[in-house]
Symmetry: C2
Subunit: 318 residues, 2 copies
């Protein structure tokens, strides 16, 4: 561990925003030194409540997150927000999102907002997000809100790492709504029907109740449904209460919550292992030029990709 890292860890624990931002960038870029830093701050984590907000595009999650953050701030909590944006860095979606939000919230010293975007093969978005949460947690943000767009594997992985997950729906969406619901049904501890002033809210609520009634959770928790109109700050108090209720439920059912924490830790170890192994293989097993030549031979159908992978693995001597 270098002295520089030790200083950075100390700065993070003291809540230095620039050190936090730089540390998140280093986990996002997958820098080698990040692991040492994360080891050092690890004992300071596990105190914040991590709230996942996930659901369909167009559901108004950003506004909901901003209003929720404002409520927590008003109650004196320190709030970290991570908006996971799978859009390409090409169009700068994540940065733009940051800037718009910054105007309203980021002048507040008790709040930290960060967008994270997927950055290609080695990105490991889910792993980077979990590390970023650990950094905010160590920095003393005791409400950490992670907002995810869409229903891909990354989203599910991120949701699994949250203490409480809120699935956000919106009335009257299209044909694929059932699929979306299916995607969030399993991971939602609480459901918010946002834009609840729209037509079709009762139907959406009934459908959701029906889906919830046919699925029983192993921990016995019945996910509540909260109706919100985030743009008008309606229903936010009920959402805050539902989140607190679930956190209390988990605290009073230690057996289940210990299982859940162990399962989160297992998942995290496996994801980190996957990431590290690939990095090692690309450093030690094959040079960039060789990999390019191998890819060309597969593209030309002179070789098949399966035996190329066999060869790289054989070189590693595992």
């Amino acid at each position: 561990m270098s002295a520089e890292k030790a200083i950075t860890a100390e700065k993070i624990i003291n809540g230095d925003k620039r050190a936090i931002a730089r540390a998140i960038s280093s986990v996002e870029d997958g820098q080698e030194g990040a692991a040492d830093l994360l080891k050092e701050i690890f004992p300071h984590t596990g105190r914040g409540l991590v709230i996942g907000i996930t659901g369909a595009p167009g559901a108004g999650k950003s506004t909901l997150v901003d209003r929720l953050a404002a409520r927590y701030r008003a109650a004196g909590e320190r709030v970290g927000i991570i908006a996971v944006d799978p859009s390409s860095p090409f169009t700068g979606g994540a940065l733009l999102g940051d800037r718009i939000r910054m105007q309203n919230l980021a002048t507040d010293p008790g709040i930290f907002i960060r967008s994270m975007a997927s950055r290609g093969n080695l990105g490991g978005l889910a792993r980077a997000t979990v590390d970023a949460v650990a950094i905010l947690d160590a920095a003393g943000y005791n409400r950490i809100i992670v907002e995810t767009v869409g229903v891909g594997q990354d989203e599910v992985d991120i949701a699994k790492a949250a203490d409480v997950t809120v699935g956000v729906l919106v009335p009257g969406m299209g044909d694929d709504i059932q699929a979306i619901k299916a995607g969030i049904m399993e991971i939602g501890d609480i459901f918010a029907i946002n834009k609840a002033d729209r037509e079709g809210v009762l139907r959406t609520e009934r459908e959701l109740e029906m889906l919830l009634s046919i699925s029983e959770r192993p921990d016995g928790w019945k996910p509540p449904i909260v109706k919100t109109v985030a743009t008008e700050d309606t229903g936010l108090e009920a959402l805050v209460e539902a989140i607190a209720s679930y956190a209390d439920f988990v605290a009073s059912h230690r057996h289940h919550s210990e299982n859940r924490r162990a399962s989160i830790a297992r998942h995290r170890i496996v994801e980190m292992l996957r990431d590290r192994l690939l990095r090692l293989a690309l450093n030690k097993g094959v040079s960039e030029a060789e990999l390019g030549a191998m890819a060309q031979s597969v593209a030309d159908r002179r070789r098949d990709p399966y035996s190329v992978v066999d060869e790289i693995i054989a070189r590693l001597g595992i």
Copy 2:
């Protein structure tokens, strides 16, 4: 290579639907024998045109895919459809989708439909989908349509492996539409505005044209915009033509298309490597019981996950 695998490969190449279905299940489950089979069929791949259909939930992609498949069938092509469904196996979304579609299409011997769902940590959905495409390709399906819901990393990975990608939009969606567009802007070779009989279609078209005008592709292709109403079979001919035009463009710009094929192959090798390395580590580096104990120690904060991963990697002797 066992005699049984050789027989299976032969059956696949001869278009035996039961052998195809079983082979796709084996790549989906990540069975050890699948790699041998894939090696054997590899020389028979690369003949079909792989068409990715991707875009926002609720855009009516399933109907669009079914209509597109019907057009190709009418022109005498053999059509394989893979619907990638990230929803949980818990609610059976993927199976249900299969069954509904089966009624309309699957009695046709020139069509093969399969839904693929994400199955947890070891799933490797993108890798399994690419392998499933290879199986359908070897089996002589010369139009292979891959439908993906959402805009996560898996979707981007799958889209990268397609020869042509169609980004599907729908008029008048919500606040997050810009993010979705950003997600598909980079991967769409063609854009379809579906449900084009709805209000707001001109605005969506103008926004899309604007976004396309500010981004120039390295290959010089200008992605066309096609308006469709899939439920009424409107605009499908234009879509078929746009797909054919892009395939022609790629064929007449060999330099770019060779680069693209090499880049697809590289991506595929890396994904397979990632998958295989994790599997090896979980077989050789750590037992399931040990991993459970390690996860518990991380959950209890007796250990940090970074040094646990260091330990497993050290055991592999890489």
